[in-house]
């Protein structure tokens, strides 16, 4: 085993242990566990058996094993960035909902203290009062 392989294996085992620990403490959904075990496990297999990448590359019609790894990584990165983007959008949406709700609640609190610009609603009760006080 070459030094880079040993380093790679150690890092990947560390990463896998993190993933599994996070799943066991319920901070990672099962689908995410599967995704990350698949990703890190796959890389681990290729690191341990480099000839596998060459074989896979031939299977896909790509010249070298290293090329396949790079292509695969780029596709994976794009996918992960997309996922983060979608999650970010969701968080932004939730944040907006929260900010909106605070604004609406605050406005109903303050509108009781200060009458706003509704002349019609202002005249209606006063007309009511004069009619009621006369008899």
């Amino acid at each position: 085993m070459t030094p880079i392989q040993i380093l790679g294996v150690l890092f990947l085992l560390f990463a896998l242990s993190r993933v599994i620990l996070r799943w066991r403490s319920h901070r990672l959904a099962l689908s995410e566990l599967v995704l990350w075990v698949f990703v890190f496990g796959g890389i681990l297999t290729v690191v341990l058996v480099p000839s596998l990448s060459a074989w896979l590359a031939r299977l896909f019609g790509i010249g070298r094993g290293a090329d396949l790894v790079i292509y695969g990584s780029i596709v994976l990165l794009f996918y992960l960035v997309f996922r983060i983007y979608v999650q970010l959008e969701n968080i932004e949406y939730k944040l907006t909902t929260l900010v909106r709700e605070i604004a609406l609640v605050q406005s109903t609190d303050s509108s009781e203290n200060k009458p706003d610009h509704t002349d019609a609603s202002g005249t209606a009760p006063s007309g009511d009062d004069t009619a009621g006080s006369q008899p």
């Binding site: 907006t96 909106r100 604004a103 406005s107 706003d116 610009h117 019609a120 009619a131 006369q134």
Partner: protein, 257 residues
Amino acid sequence: MPGSNWELFRYCHNLMNSSETFRNKLTVVIPAHNEQAMVGAVVREVICQLDGLELAGFASEVLVVDDGSRDATFQEARRAGACVLRHVINCGLGAAIGTGFQAALRRGATIVVTLDADGQHDPRDIPQLIAPILNDTADVVIGSRLLAQAAQAIGMPLDRRLINWGANMITWLLFGAWTTDSQSGLRALNRRALEQIHIKTNRMEVASEIIAETSRLRLRLAEVPIAAVYTDYSLQKGQTNANSLPVLFKLLLRKLR
């Protein structure tokens, strides 16, 4: 007693009148972000216009949504007589309009008009703008800066005109609704549209989104010509040429989602 009958008549008349006015409540929603210089004047001008409408049996209200401004927008708007809602952080134009719509719904609005806080819209256009809604010929009305007169005549710069045309084209391609001014900030919606349209985008995409929702929900869309004032101030604010690409990207993503 004839006197008490007369009082009863006045009482009933008042009641009927008040229910009449409540049937039509016009709420003007003004999203504002760091607009302390203009927002007060805009609010006062709008209120002035609304007073005229109130004589015609409308209840009305000006609702400013302060989108996390760092200046005195909140105080200025309130001093000018508007009801002001405050976002504790800046969320974007779309979010502010969404909040305005929600608040208007809860406060019983039957017609909502949105208007930019930078003073580029003339509140005198409001009666024209809501006319198609009052005639029940439209659910959503866009105030178009480019409908009647040539864009040159209103002083819209050439780059703005090109971007505007591109935005109209994209709105049409993506959402199947053609308008001559898809990015206009002056629009009117009736309650039916208000209840159905849900704004999901947070920023400038909101203009196209409202049109997209209108066509998706098969609501009736109309355009009326409006005046627009392009001052140096209003050109600095609002959409910059550079942010049109991110807006396009967001619209594409929204279509995919």
